[in-house]
Subunit: 212 residues, 2 copies
Amino acid sequence: MPLAEPTETLSTPATDATERILAAAKDLFSESGFDAVSMNAIADRAGVSKANVFHHFKSKNDLYLAVLKIACSKSHAQIDQLGSDKDSFVARLRDYSVSHLASILQDEKISRLIQRDLLENGPQRGKEFAEQVFGQNFARLVDILRSGQKKGELRKEIDPAMLATLLIGADVFFFQSREVLRHFPDVSFTAAPERYSAMLAEILLHGILPKP
Amino acid sequence: MPLAEPTETLSTPATDATERILAAAKDLFSESGFDAVSMNAIADRAGVSKANVFHHFKSKNDLYLAVLKIACSKSHAQIDQLGSDKDSFVARLRDYSVSHLASILQDEKISRLIQRDLLENGPQRGKEFAEQVFGQNFARLVDILRSGQKKGELRKEIDPAMLATLLIGADVFFFQSREVLRHFPDVSFTAAPERYSAMLAEILLHGILPKP
DNA sequence: CATTACATTGACCGACCGGTCAGTCAGTGC
DNA sequence: GCACTGACTGACCGGTCGGTCAATGTAATG
């Protein structure tokens, strides 16, 4: 729990040019990527002059980093309910499978932004942000899986990190490929993410082989 | 007819400016994406003038499409050995799991190029190419799974398209995230793709629950 | 040799890029 | 009234972008 910003998100919602710039930048960057978005376009959508954008953010990269930081901090708070011990391990994993994909789909712009960032940059820029927030969620998921494994709720041959990768990867792949998958006649679940999540949990829990 | 060169792909490999341009464009596009690569850079790397690039390709988009077309056609021929009936279904699926990931990792540039294209464009451009080649492999995989299911080698509750999505998605996610995953202390398989493939098959075949 | 066809080139264009700058304006403390 | 500040702007900078074009080289054909 780092520090929670007071109420500025509600005190100056539309009046503050900075927030309008940030919102415009988030939209445009997530739609088209860093290079394809000009500062003129951001300024136009925010309803301010380009010079004013440079007044609030010292460079295009600085603005991009600010957008990414906000996006990451928002996705911080989400994946916290899956640790509760009240239900059975199987039920909790099913819950996680559904809620994780739902949270990815909830703010498509943020997901696309982070995903794009992980792909685009070779050397530097916001990679650390994404790695940090992604790594945090990943480690938390691995911990939960490992503790479940110690209680015998998970086969001991399973690598928890492998399972975590599979859980996250299945959702990420669904998110980024659903527009393509949608056109395949064999695929029936693109319009029903919760069904995808359910089938995913089913396969992971029981495998694909017939019961002997 | 003093000149008789039937196999032009081998007769003029490096002399032909067109091929040098295509190779340079493939490298640069896969490294940095469409927008971030200038025609000057492509011309420089190919060792020709920029005007000559426009002589052989009518626009930047045209060159990009040509590169994508070649990339897709190359990946066409690969995923064909998994249909052979000689081995058991389990063995074939294990084989596929390994060989599919290996083929993705084999030509990283092509994989990155296609992946980037699927992410970048909203409306048009090479999406059809990727959909076509991807859809072909996907349909083939689904067919094989479905036939195995009819023979009782696969639980009848399993959706073949879902399983295919999982198989492909796990590999794609591994490919695109391994640079990030590599820094996570829990992850031990980033340097050993064949171990990742083996664990994937293990989990999919038998599930993660302890045997009753 | 003249002609034809094409590969190749440097010079060049208008548009737009990220970024700067001098200056306007509203608000605030004294 | 005055000084000061920060938000804000239009005009502008050097540079790069995709793309064009007239001219040159070069080899084959007549």
